[in-house]
Symmetry: C2
Subunit: 197 residues, 2 copies
């Protein structure tokens, strides 16, 4: 008996499919499920199914929501749109505070190596939102890595014909960091992007 | 919108109940569920419910199994019983190889600080197994920490009246470790437990 029982092995595979969950961790989760009461496991399943049934993409910005439109699209008036890669980024920016504009979620980045081109992203939906002329600025908030850079450049190029300001969130040294320990690329980028004071 | 939608928040709490899952990790799992197909989420729920419905404790040794008796209790003949704290420990020892005896799972350790006394463990079931005189040796394989030590001592004392050899797995430096970096307690224990060569 060098293996778990069949049903536990299946559950371990299921937990493994959540991404970033190793065999040992998945096993720990599965054992925890065995030790839970039937009621608790039923509630767990309910929570899973409810999310799957209720959560959808906002018709306007494509972040997660449970209605046709998300809270932000429904309640905020703004002529600025912040373009992000994933719904989790909307949450991060909201939590940071300070931004009170709208969002647009691409659901990915351009990544030829993973076979993901612009067509797989919600870029045409972004263009559709810009056509009525109400949006004056687009802030691209993709990650500061190659895929994020490529995606930002692509969008900037695409928006050239529109009379819209396109910007990207600043890249530089983090607040509270120590210049001695900042990596070279970030430091060199921070010097390139220096701001007059 | 500084929070996720209601159903996502509920799922985050559910994932959090698996133990050792922080808020950020639970959120990542929940987002993954949103991105899964309905079919995949249904299969996930099936895996959860199947484990809960099928997996039970072996009537003899109390490890996880899907029948009245586990594979080991059903197929192995031995007069040695290895006492472990949790079902996962059975698997670890089986995987290590070299041991071909039976097991007994306590489902915990004695821990007064957590309000867990000997009565909460499957100790009387262990005694019942020993009464017919077929078992000649009990190896206690609890963890080498205070709770494991207390549990081992308790069992050793309890088995005194029986004509049974009681042993505990060796504590010493790990194979492949470097004496320079072994912690002091382990090193001192390894010297105390030195074996003649």
């Amino acid at each position: 008996m060098k293996r778990n029982t069949e049903s536990i092995e299946k559950l371990i595979i299921a937990f493994g499919s959540l991404g970033g969950v190793g065999k040992k961790t998945a096993m720990r989760y599965a054992y925890k499920i065995v030790d839970m009461s039937l009621q608790e496991v039923k509630e767990f399943c309910d929570a899973l199914m409810t999310v799957k049934e209720r959560v959808r993409y906002c018709n306007n910005c494509a972040t997660f929501c449970e209605n046709d439109l998300c809270d932000i699209c429904q309640n905020r008036k703004s002529n600025i749109v912040c373009v992000v890669s994933y719904p989790r980024d909307v949450l991060s920016i909201e939590r940071a505070g300070g931004y009170s504009g709208l969002y647009h979620v691409l659901h990915g980045t351009i990544s030829p190596i993973d076979g993901r081109g612009p067509d797989q992203l919600r870029i045409k939906e972004l263009l559709a939102r810009l056509k009525d002329g109400n949006i004056h600025e687009v802030i691209v908030a993709t990650n500061p890595d190659i895929e994020g850079d490529v995606t930002a450049m692509y969008i900037a190029k695409l928006l050239k014909p529109f009379d819209i300001k396109v910007s990207r969130i600043a890249q530089g040294i983090s607040i509270g960091s120590d210049i001695e320990f900042v990596d070279e690329t970030t430091l060199s980028r921070a010097i390139d992007n220096r701001i007059q004071i």
